[in-house]
């Protein structure tokens, strides 16, 4: 049994290597083919919880940790916000080089005021972004974020939402460097970010 398991692990390892080099190869080839998937990019024009218009250009020059959610979400979203707040605390002085961004997938309920009431409660550094339904839709497209309304008769307005729950880490050049799936412990996220930020600012 142990030998079989070793073999499985080995095969998995080879699989990951092959996949990894394929991804690298795809990234380094300069001419994108028609069937190659478009990369995740930050490309948006939205309104901050302070009422100011924000685009991805506002994030140039700083690391950004971006995630999507909605404020009527009682479980996943506050947990993610709390986790990111913990990462910011963990980062210590490096936190000044990181902008955490919460983008709502529920523009109907999450207006500027709703975000202003909610997002900064988790950490003063957070930026909440909202927009028109069309702006949110096009933003989600560039991040390849999926979201949908789910019927929930007891919830305010009768719906809840399902949405992509991962965290996106962009470098100061606005290039995606890492995705963290929901539930990644803040300590792990911190350990991943610290050396990147240190190498970048040295």
């Amino acid at each position: 049994m142990a030998r079989v398991r070793k073999l499985v692990w080995l095969l998995c390892g080879i699989g990951i290597l092959v996949l990894g080099s394929a991804v690298l190869w795809q990234r380094t080839t300069s001419t994108p083919t028609a069937e190659s998937e478009p990369a995740i990019v930050a490309d948006f024009e939205l309104t901050g919880h302070d009422g100011m218009v924000r685009t991805e250009e506002d994030l140039r020059g700083t690391w950004s940790l971006i995630f999507f959610g909605f404020t009527h979400c009682p479980d996943i979203c506050p947990t993610t916000l709390a986790d990111v707040a913990q990462v910011m605390d963990n980062l210590g002085p490096q936190a000044s080089q990181v902008q955490p961004v919460f983008i709502t997938v529920d523009p109907e309920r999450d207006d500027v005021q709703a975000l202003a009431d909610y997002v900064p409660q988790f950490h003063p550094s957070f930026l909440g972004l909202t927009g028109t339904p069309a702006q949110i839709e096009s933003t989600a497209k560039t991040f390849k974020v999926y979201y949908e309304k789910v019927d929930e008769p007891q919830a305010p307005n009768g719906y809840s939402m399902g949405h992509t729950s991962q965290l996106f880490l962009f470098n100061p050049q606005n290039e995606l460097v890492r995705l963290f799936s929901y539930g990644t412990p803040p300590s792990e996220i911190t350990a991943d970010m610290e050396p990147r930020i240190a190498a970048d600012s040295s």
Binding site: H72, P74, D75, P78, Y118, Q154, G162, T164, S165, Y182
Partner: protein, 151 residues
């Protein structure tokens, strides 16, 4: 001393039998919840439920005066990293097993809050089981950015 015997007998008679049947077998630990901003958004509560008895238990419902509608929900994340939640229905707790209500999984969903959830306060929550047993517990309210029962 001899007065105690009739008292206990009367007490046992007055209490509806199923209410306390096996209630010693279910213990709840580490209950916590997060503060809310006002009452317009639903809240969630978390806890660990142990069934130390010999029989399986089924958690069928919740009630609290804090929320007009309280039910057990489950958040699930699929392979595409899309998370959504839905009512979880009845939660079976086999004999000797533990069920955790924790962020990203099962949670006590508190809809239509009747008052804001204020950090430092607590609220009472009743767990309803299929055999009619009920367990009432106090759930402490932690800060809005709390990540667990200790925050």
């Amino acid at each position: 001393m001899k007065n105690l015997v009739p008292f206990a007998a009367v007490a046992a008679f007055l209490m509806p039998a199923p209410l306390f049947a096996g209630s010693d077998d279910i213990t709840v630990e580490n209950a916590w919840s997060r503060a809310s901003i006002g009452t317009s958004r639903p809240g969630a509560a978390y806890m660990t439920i142990h069934n130390t008895g010999e029989d399986a238990a089924s958690l069928t419902g919740l009630s609290t005066d804090l929320a007009a509608m309280a039910e057990i929900h489950r958040s699930t994340t699929n392979e595409e990293n899309v998370t959504s939640m839905a009512p979880a229905g009845t939660i079976d707790i086999p004999a000797g097993e533990t069920v955790a209500l924790e962020p990203g999984g099962l949670h006590a969903m508190l809809m239509q809050l009747q008052r804001p959830m204020i950090e430092g306060e607590s609220f009472s929550l009743t767990l309803e089981f299929s055999d009619g047993e009920e367990i009432e517990l106090e759930v402490p309210i932690r800060g809005i950015a709390a990540r667990g029962p200790q925050d």
